[in-house]
């Protein structure tokens, strides 16, 4: 085993980041169908995360991209994005967000992680936790499943 599966990898990162938010769920849809939703960051992220109003991602298949987020709090800014099958890690000056997925039988295990950057700990971390608490993660998983089912 030279690389853990993406969900295990995100679990390790969440531990390292001491992320206030980490959750996993099983979605009863095939991996390709679920990941198609996650990978469509520009089209889907504003539907999945309520405070992201717009997420502009340059076109192309590159695994490393520089995206631009516009959110309702006005915390707009550039994001470094790393995207590959089963793995999405996005980081701005203030926040980090990760999503990972792996096939789980006929379904998909999906994980999501969110953390504030340490330089901005404190108020931002609390805001982030309130924005993406347990209720929000359940809503996130439900919305991924709903939008994947439409594909």
């Amino acid at each position: 085993m030279n690389s853990p599966d993406p969900v295990a990898r995100l679990r390790v990162l969440a531990a390292g980041l001491r992320a206030p938010l980490y959750a996993e769920a099983r979605i009863a849809l095939p991996f390709d169908q679920v990941w198609a939703v996650i990978a469509d960051l520009e089209g889907e992220l504003p539907h999945l995360i309520s405070f992201v109003r717009e997420f502009r991602v340059p076109p192309g298949d590159s695994e490393r991209k520089a995206a631009q987020a516009v959110d309702v709090l006005g915390l707009r800014g550039p994001f470094d994005v790393r995207l590959s099958p089963g793995w999405c890690l996005m980081q701005s000056r203030l926040v980090t967000m990760g999503m990972a997925a792996a096939p789980d039988g006929t379904g998909t295990r999906l994980a999501v992680c969110g953390a504030a950057r340490p330089a901005a700990l404190g108020p931002v971390q609390r805001v982030y936790r309130s924005l993406l608490g347990r209720r929000r993660t359940r809503a996130f998983f439900r919305e991924v499943e709903r939008r994947a089912a439409l594909r």
């Binding site: 085993m1 853990p4 990898r9 679990r11 390790v12 390292g16 980041l17 890690l89 953390a115 330089a119």
Partner: protein, 210 residues
């Protein structure tokens, strides 16, 4: 032949080829100008510093960099639960990363954490199964005369050794550590390491010639 000299991926030289290739690819953390002489622990140091400051991308790079090394340590110590041992080790490493004062000491520290976690996971397992043949092949010098050929029997012999013997064999013969460093790492006196090593080698040879 001195085990340390025939085993380059020791404490100071983990998986040099793979790490060198990755080191040369990096530019984000100020190591773009590295040439072929770059040492893996130098490549890790800027990533460690960035990861300690909460840079998730650096942390991910560091995770990819160190996973093969952690896997190589875990496979012979916990052959029946390698995936669990690797995951537990990586979790422990990254949970504790911010407490690491000297980034240059990263690999030595990773090794200590990994061996501790791998032994803990292996102790949970009731069964003993053969280790990865690729790991066992590096123990061939314990058996003069068998050359490069390794059989299922050799794998089985190693896997049947008690965990405490397997651990010292891995650290001494695969990692090229001396008795003192091995003793410090597994938390027993140096004399205990020597006697365990002697018994492990003896058991291995006797079982082989039977």
């Amino acid at each position: 032949m001195d085990p340390a000299s025939r085993n380059p991926p020791g404490p100071q030289q983990p998986a040099p080829d793979a790490l060198h290739r990755r080191a040369r690819r990096r530019s984000r953390y100020g190591v773009a100008a590295m040439d072929d002489d770059v040492r893996p622990w130098d490549a890790a140091a800027p990533l460690v510093r960035a990861a300690q400051s909460g840079d998730a991308l650096a942390m991910d790079d560091l995770l990819k960099l160190v996973t093969p090394y952690v896997t190589r340590l875990c496979a012979p110590i916990a052959p029946d639960d390698t995936a669990d041992a690797v995951q537990e080790s990586l979790l422990a490493v990254f949970r504790g990363l911010r407490g690491l004062r000297d980034p240059q000491a990263f690999y030595g520290w990773v090794r200590a954490v990994t061996v501790r976690e791998a032994v803990r996971v292996a102790r949970r397992s009731a069964s003993e199964t053969p280790a990865d043949p690729e790991e066992i092949v590096r123990l061939r010098d314990l058996l003069p005369g068998i050359g490069g050929e390794l059989s299922v029997e050799v794998r089985d012999l190693l896997a049947r050794l008690p965990l405490r013997h397997r651990t010292v064999l891995v650290l001494r013969e695969l990692e090229g550590m001396d008795e003192r460093a091995t003793a410090e790492l597994i938390g027993v006196p140096e004399g205990t390491v020597k006697s365990r090593l002697s018994r492990a080698r003896s058991s291995f040879r006797k079982a082989w010639t039977r």
